[in-house]
């Protein structure tokens, strides 16, 4: 199995920010996202990935909650990611080593967790100026395993984006879709600048919105017998209480998956949201967001602290369960 790597999440962010900020003007206060070889039209492919087999990297929760046919049925997960970059890397999500690009990994992963969900793809290289389309029926989940970096000098600015990220922020604001955002791989507190002096503006724009979930990564799945720790690279919830209340962690076990990064935490949570959306088909995205956040576990984490783990480790089985029953 190849060594774990953090290639595409970081590379995308860094290259995007440099490209975006060469022409940047303070007067504009725009964050111009990169479109390398831009094609204004978005590439959106609808793929229903049906792989009904619990994988060894999945939380025992998921395997235990596995039942016939319903995982994400009637819901849609849209993966906004890099689907056109030639850069590929190897990993193992379904029992065999594969080599593919970042967006294909995240969409495959979400599809393995919610195997009956419809998986749509939007290439952020070509889709910057296109709103993310939503399915007309059923829960919509948007997975964003990337960031929009800006210089720390602008950390107090309000940013505007192209149509793609603007639509995502608006969906989170209006509760129209759940936005699962990878927390970032700088090993810092959310909302602070990294070693390069940059920060993720998209994280800031999504903060406090009703259907935002930030996804941090644990080094493994946690159990009460063997509590998990934060992956060294994963951003932490930080001191801001609003961010803490929207922050979840899940295991990204690179020893099993061959890949690592909060990019691969977000699709797991996206899959969880889709599974919930198929069970509670009339629930709003806000209700499902809150269900995931409020049923997170802290007893499976080593030295739990909200500043590190936010709400805690996402628990699909508890999110599916009733509060009381008689």
């Amino acid at each position: 199995m190849k060594a774990a790597s953090f290639p595409l999440f970081s590379k995308i962010i860094i290259s995007a920010s440099f490209m975006a900020f060469a022409p940047f003007s303070l007067a504009q206060s725009d964050l111009v996202s990169t479109a390398i070889g831009a094609n204004p039209s978005a590439m959106a492919a609808t793929t229903a990935i049906v792989l009904p087999k619990a994988q060894n990297w999945m939380n025992p929760d998921v395997a235990a909650a596995w039942s016939a046919g319903y995982s994400g049925k009637g819901t849609t997960i849209t993966i906004v990611d890099d689907f056109s970059n030639a850069s590929k890397f190897s990993g193992n999500l379904n029992g065999k080593v594969q080599t593919q690009g970042h967006g294909y990994w995240t969409s495959q992963e979400a599809g393995l967790v919610a195997y009956s969900a419809t998986i749509n793809r939007q290439d952020f290289n070509t889709g910057r100026n296109t709103s993310v389309p939503l399915a007309k029926t059923g829960l919509n989940v948007i997975n964003a395993s990337y960031g929009m970096y800006a210089s720390g000098a602008y950390i107090n600015y309000n940013f505007t984006y192209g149509a793609e990220e603007t639509s995502m922020v608006n969906y989170a604001k209006g509760g129209n879709a759940i936005i699962v955002k990878a927390a970032g791989n700088d090993g810092i507190n959310m909302g602070t600048v990294n070693a390069s002096g940059n920060f993720d503006a998209l994280n800031k724009s999504l903060k406090g919105l009703p259907t935002t979930i930030y996804a941090g990564a644990l080094s493994s799945n946690g159990t009460t017998a063997s509590p998990a720790s934060m992956a060294s690279y994963s951003n932490r919830a930080g001191t801001d209480v609003t961010t803490q209340k929207q922050f979840l962690v899940v295991g990204v076990d690179s020893s099993k998956m061959g890949i690592a990064g909060t990019s691969f935490a977000a699709p797991i949570i996206s899959g969880y949201a889709a599974v919930l959306g198929s069970k509670f088909a009339t629930a709003t995205p806000t209700a499902i967001t809150n269900q995931l956040l409020n049923t997170a576990r802290t007893d499976t984490l080593k030295s739990y602290s909200a500043a590190v783990y936010g709400k805690g480790e996402a628990s699909l089985s508890r999110a599916l369960a009733p509060v009381s029953i008689k």
Partner: protein
């Protein structure tokens, strides 16, 4: 609607059960004069052929007397109080010889009750026929049927909070990925195993 359907099913099964009880009473009343007149004869010609505590349906439910699931707050919800029985289904069957070759099979079972299920009492009736075809061959025929004895499972009422509200659900599947309304399709509603049996046996000795 599901609640109404469950009530209608319960009422229908209650009616069947009442009919079985009435049939049993008629049989007993018929047997009393027979007994009086031929009491010893009847007893001499009646043999116990089965005493059994527990049944396939009983075992099916018994599987759920252990286990459970975690509620949304992490507390453990055990299946045990719902599926443990207060009395295990017990069957006694007899055969009463009518002629040299013909017998009547008859029996009753007590049924079984738990908090979330019921196995209804039943009546078993049948015939048995035996013939010596030749010096070294025999033919036997047996046919039995069981009236009543169905297994019915009752749903739970679960509160899923803001995400799902209060819903009727299959107790065993309340924490599954299935929508609560779908889980009701998996409630036990079984007939007795081997409800009707017919056996024909030919033996040749050499």
């Amino acid at each position: 609607m599901r609640g109404i359907k469950t009530t209608l099913i319960n009422n229908s099964l209650c009616n069947t059960r009442n009919k079985i009880y009435k049939l049993l009473i008629y049989i007993v009343l018929w047997m009393i004069p027979s007994f009086s007149a031929h009491g010893f004869d009847f007893i001499e010609k009646t043999h116990v052929i089965e005493i059994r505590q527990g049944s396939e349906l009983s075992e099916k439910v018994n599987f759920y007397t252990v286990g459970g699931f975690e509620a949304a707050n992490g507390s453990f919800v055990s299946y045990t109080p719902w599926y443990i029985n207060h009395w295990t289904d017990t069957r006694v069957s007899f055969m009463t010889q009518i002629t040299e070759t013909l017998g009547i099979i008859w029996g009753v079972s007590s049924g079984e009750v738990g908090d979330k299920y019921r196995i209804y009492p039943s009546l078993k009736i049948g015939v048995a026929y035996f013939e010596n075809l030749s010096k070294n061959s025999t033919l036997s025929f047996k046919a039995t049927t069981i009236l009543g004895g169905n297994l019915t499972e009752y749903p739970c009422i679960a509160d899923y909070g803001d995400v799902g509200g209060v819903q009727m659900v299959n107790c065993r599947m309340a924490a599954s990925q299935l929508p609560p309304s779908e889980t009701l399709n998996y409630l036990f509603n079984d007939r007795p195993y081997n409800q009707t049996m017919v056996t024909l046996e030919y033996k040749l000795y050499f």
